[in-house]
């Protein structure tokens, strides 16, 4: 690999144009590449993103996926591509509107415009061919699109993308993306050697000739940019950082599962959870792991429970509709105290809802969905890195407490790509092989410790441990028991385990000053956006801090004292809540964000909420506006007789 000096030497652009156009220094910038699907915008973006990460930038990449598998060309809903946010500090979320977009055609651009994805002053590099296209229908579409977008102050830069590419290839559908990569390399001063490496890797299965063709297109793009563009951006890298890995949340969940020592996943495909299994399907067997694609989610849950019961904790991965189907088995896991890890990658609901979009609306279902009293653990990683470590924690709790553990992630974590500190696997992350030693005489399968409710489970193969596990009410010996005392006692023991786990937890840390006018509380994937908004609010002189919760059951300790130090507490969530001021909505009948609801019951604090169900990750700017509009008037008493 090229040495530093070589790199510097070859840092694009090495051209006179570069000198003519001194780059504008930025701390962060958001760019995206959109095209018809199949034109390779995604690969272009991926290479740009990973090269930026390697150069030391903070990066957050999101795929732009059309609703259909293969949408018609030049259609607004068909926009496909990649959105990359780079920064000179770690990037924790997708940010606000896009600053620079490269569009292969005006329809793809229009799709983004309609979703409000682009900043008012966004720079738009667009293929000029359509404007003057032979087909007048297309020319008309171009004009209509420009008309529709005229309200915004986009800065259009017409680029003869296809025309240029045709000088090197016959079928431009296969080449444009590399040309565009060249444009971007010049604009953002990306390391061309690294880009060539990535290209080489991407086409490793193709011929040398294919590789060369792509590199030529890349250089052509660089050349065109250097000769025609009068703007460049520099987003300086971070000072040397510790070793990092870059992946999305589902890949992190899969690797975390491996690192936890779990050896069996039973699942049924469902967006956006499926890709967890795609990763494992490739590698799990190498670790001695087994992946079972069941006939449905019910069977997947049952299969995992059977596996856990007879060996080591197993897990299943799903999303809303699948979680619904698993409900009955989750109750059985709780009742039989069979360890189980359930990952719910939340998507837009209710029902089939918005399968590819983000939402945080399964919280209450995860907590309370199972009929009867079903004490269990619910935790929610807040970052892609935490997706990895959450699996290790979940497996350990499930085993130690004979408990069902639900891990709530969402489509934002699942599809967002971000570098994070490389995990360094250690032995105690991994589950031990099941202990099949004989069961000491007199021990029973549910010898609950009267204080902690903990007991040691027997695994088939353990001599002397024979018993029948049952979902019916049962006593210490696992005998079916219908009497009043046993049901009260066994219910108490199952619940007690949560109190014990709670007693080991510490209060969460406040982000920012630990007292002030407003505390923003969040959970799950919104952490980065919330904290960025809080930073900006503080910069604007607002006394705002934030708090992020990982454990929803048992609820993290010490919340009330923290809340008491703020004049107002408000959750920010990607789920539905009624807005005060809307017709018929009163303080009393208002349906609140799911975390807000929990925190009110837990702390008796008048927790307000600002939530949206737009099917997209939270934008820091939107949160900032919500903070401003919800700041308590200096006169408001902290807790009003709200309800």
């Amino acid at each position: 690999m090229a040495t530093i000096t070589q790199e510097r030497a070859d840092m694009a652009p090495a051209s006179a144009a570069a000198e003519r156009t001194p780059p504008q220094r930025l701390t962060q910038h958001i760019l995206e590449i959109v095209s018809d699907s199949g034109e390779g915008a995604q690969k272009c973006g991926q290479i740009f993103g990973s090269v930026s990460a390697k150069m030391g930038n903070g990066v957050w990449t999101v795929e732009i996926i059309p609703a259909e598998i293969q949408p018609p060309p030049r259609s607004a809903p068909g926009a496909s591509g990649n959105r990359i946010r780079i920064g000179s500090a770690p990037v924790t979320n997708w940010g606000d509107e896009t600053n620079l977009v490269v569009a292969f055609n005006e329809q793809a651009l229009l799709g983004r415009h309609r979703l409000d994805a682009l900043a008012d002053d966004a720079i738009v590099l667009i293929d000029s061919q359509w404007k003057t296209h032979a087909d007048e229908r297309i020319r008309a579409e171009w004009d209509a699109a420009m008309e529709e977008m005229s309200g915004k102050a986009y800065r259009f830069v017409e680029v003869p993308i296809e025309t240029e590419c045709l000088t090197l290839v016959e079928n431009p559908r296969r080449g444009k993306n590399m040309f565009v990569l060249g444009l971007l390399a010049w604009i953002y001063g990306r390391d061309l050697d690294r880009i060539r490496e990535e290209i080489a890797f991407a086409f490793r299965k193709k011929s040398e000739e294919v590789y060369q063709k792509n590199v030529d297109l890349l250089d052509l793009g660089v050349k065109w940019a250097s000769e025609n563009l009068d703007f460049r951006f520099e987003v300086p890298p971070m000072p040397e950082v510790e070793p990092r890995v870059v992946m999305n949340g589902n890949q992190a969940v899969a690797l975390g599962a491996i690192a936890s020592g779990m050896e069996l996943i039973a699942m049924y495909p469902i967006t956006p959870a499926t890709s967890v299994s795609h990763g494992l399907a490739e590698t799990f067997s190498k670790y001695g792991g087994i992946l079972h694609q069941a006939e449905d989610e019910i069977a997947a849950a049952g299969f995992a429970i059977g596996a856990s019961w007879s060996g080591k904790t197993a897990f299943t991965v799903t999303s809303g509709p699948g979680l619904a189907l698993k409900t009955e088995f989750l109750g059985l896991s709780v009742m039989t105290e069979t360890p189980l890890v359930v990952v719910d990658v939340q998507r837009g609901g209710p029902s089939t809802g918005l399968p590819t979009k983000v939402e945080q609306a399964d919280l209450l279902a995860a907590l309370y969905g199972q009929p009867g009293d079903s004490p269990h653990v619910v935790l929610a990683p807040a970052t892609i890195e935490e997706c990895f470590h959450a699996m290790i924690t979940a497996r350990r709790i499930a085993e130690t407490f004979r408990m069902m553990v639900i891990v709530l992630t969402d489509a934002n974590l699942a599809t967002g790509v971000q570098p994070f500190r490389r995990p360094e696997p250690v032995h105690d992350w991994f589950a031990l092989p099941p202990d099949l030693s004989p069961v000491p005489d007199g021990l029973r399968p549910f010898d609950w410790d009267p204080d902690t409710g903990l007991s040691r489970r027997f695994i088939p193969g353990q001599p002397g441990g024979m018993h029948t596990t049952t979902g019916l009410a049962h006593d210490e010996a696992s005998r079916v028991a219908y009497d009043t005392a046993t049901n009260q006692r066994s219910s108490t023991m199952r619940s007690r385990k949560l109190a014990v786990l709670h007693s080991t937890m510490k209060p969460p840390a406040v982000y920012g000053p630990d007292s002030g006018d407003m505390l923003v509380v969040g959970w799950g994937s919104t952490k980065g956006a919330i904290e960025e908004a809080v930073d900006r609010a503080q910069a604007d002189g607002l006394a705002v801090s934030s708090l992020h919760l990982r454990f929803l059951s048992p609820m993290e300790p010490g919340l009330r004292p923290i809340f008491d130090r703020f004049r107002k507490v408000m959750t920010v969530e990607i789920n539905y809540s009624d807005d005060l001021g809307d017709p018929y909505i009163t303080e009393e009948n208002r349906r609140r964000g799911q975390l807000a609801w929990l925190l009110r019951a837990q702390t008796l604090t008048d927790v307000d909420c600002w939530t949206r169900v737009l099917g997209e990750p939270m934008r820091p700017g939107a949160i900032l506006r919500a903070i401003r509009s919800h700041m308590p008037a200096q006169t408001t008493p902290k807790k009003g007789g709200a309800a």
């Binding site: 990973s50 070793p243 990092r244 890995v245 870059v246 890949q251 690797l255 491996i258 690192a259 020592g261 069996l264 039973a266 067997s285 190498k286 670790y287 001695g288 087994i290 079972h292 069941a294 006939e295 019910i298 069977a299 997947a300 049952g302 299969f303 429970i305 059977g306 596996a307 856990s308 019961w309 007879s310 060996g311 080591k312 197993a314 009955e328 088995f329 059985l332 490389r422 995990p423 696997p425 250690v426 032995h427 991994f430 092989p433 099949l436 027997f458 088939p460 193969g461 001599p463 002397g464 441990g465 024979m466 018993h467 029948t468 596990t469 049952t470 979902g471 019916l472 005998r479 079916v480």
Partner: protein, 314 residues
């Protein structure tokens, strides 16, 4: 993953007697056919000297699903209709265990139908028993898919509207079916021989056991119990042959369990009750064998994981 577990066996020289397989006192009604099934199963456990701690009975919910509580092995009494997914998860994780599954007719053919079809296709090495009393017993007398047409129950006081489902015919249509048999609990000898054949079959052995419920369906099997000529025994060396029955059960038919077409013809509804092995084929792969992988040490795993993490390195 569990090969290593195979070595954790203990006291292999011990000899097990009937008492070693007896657990809680059965709570079924007097005269319930389930008692007989339990007896035959315990006889089999003794005959095959199955390690109690290496044997698992999995069931759903129903009168019949109380079965595991009465056998002193490991047991999993799970959810109504869901015995098979749990059993498959167990067998996949622990191929070293001997797995029996006990289901009722509602349990297996109604709410559990999807799992029944797919477990047949997975063809994991286990023995699945359908205790078919043609009724919902535990919930007190509702129609099941196998309830005879016009038979009255609490949900069909004017008689069942649909013709009964034929579980043998259905299973024979399921892809990968490898062992399909039918027996009757009131012919202990035949039931025992059938259970043994099922247990010895390497693959998913499905046995439908016609079972009397004196409380809710006393009439249904009465005739067959009284009149041996109403039953026809399918006999074959690769199936079940019970010489001691020859005197009473004179109606016998030689049927090669390898012949699927004949099996399906014989499974079609008739007024005779056919007992024996309809189909058997050990050539189908067993899912747990297809997926078994070498179990790794933690060190090996860490090494692999580090390699994989490196492939994600920035």
């Amino acid at each position: 993953m569990s090969c290593s577990l195979l070595h954790s066996r203990s006291d292999d020289d011990q000899v097990f007697a009937l008492g070693d397989y007896e657990a809680a006192l059965p709570r079924w009604c007097p005269g319930c056919g389930d008692h007989g099934v339990l007896a035959a199963m315990q006889r089999l456990l003794v005959a095959e000297q199955l390690q109690p701690d290496q044997t698992v009975f999995v069931s759903g919910i129903g009168c019949s699903s109380r079965f595991p509580h009465y056998v002193k092995t490991y047991g999993f009494h799970g959810l109504h209709g869901r015995a098979l997914p749990v059993a498959c998860g167990i067998k996949m994780t622990r191929p070293d265990l001997t797995v029996f599954v006990v289901m009722g007719d509602g349990d297996c053919t109604s709410i559990g139908a999807a799992h029944w079809l797919h477990a047949t296709r997975y063809n994991m090495n286990m023995t699945a028993l359908l205790l078919d009393n043609n009724i919902y017993g535990l919930t007190k007398n509702q129609t099941s898919p196998t309830t005879p047409i016009a038979h009255t129950s609490n949900t069909h006081p004017y008689g069942a509207a649909l013709p009964p489902m034929n579980p043998i015919e259905a299973t024979l249509g399921f892809t990968n079916a490898s062992f399909v048999a039918q027996t009757a609990e009131w012919i202990p000898g035949h039931m025992y021989a059938t259970l043994r054949a099922a247990y010895r079959h390497n693959g998913f052995a499905f046995v439908r056991i016609l079972q009397r419920c004196p409380v809710y369906t006393p009439d249904i099997f009465q005739a067959a119990v009284k009149k041996p000529e109403l039953a026809e025994l399918l006999v074959h060396d690769d199936g079940v042959v019970v010489p001691e029955l020859d005197r009473i059960y004179t109606r016998q038919l030689r049927h090669d369990p390898g012949d699927i077409d004949a099996a399906r013809r014989l499974a079609e509804p008739t007024d005779v009750i056919r007992l024996g092995v309809f189909y058997r084929n050990e050539s189908h792969p067993r899912y747990e064998e297809l997926l078994q992988t070498r179990r790794l040490t933690t060190d090996e795993k860490i090494q692999l994981l580090n390699q994989e993490l490196d492939s994600y390195a920035v």
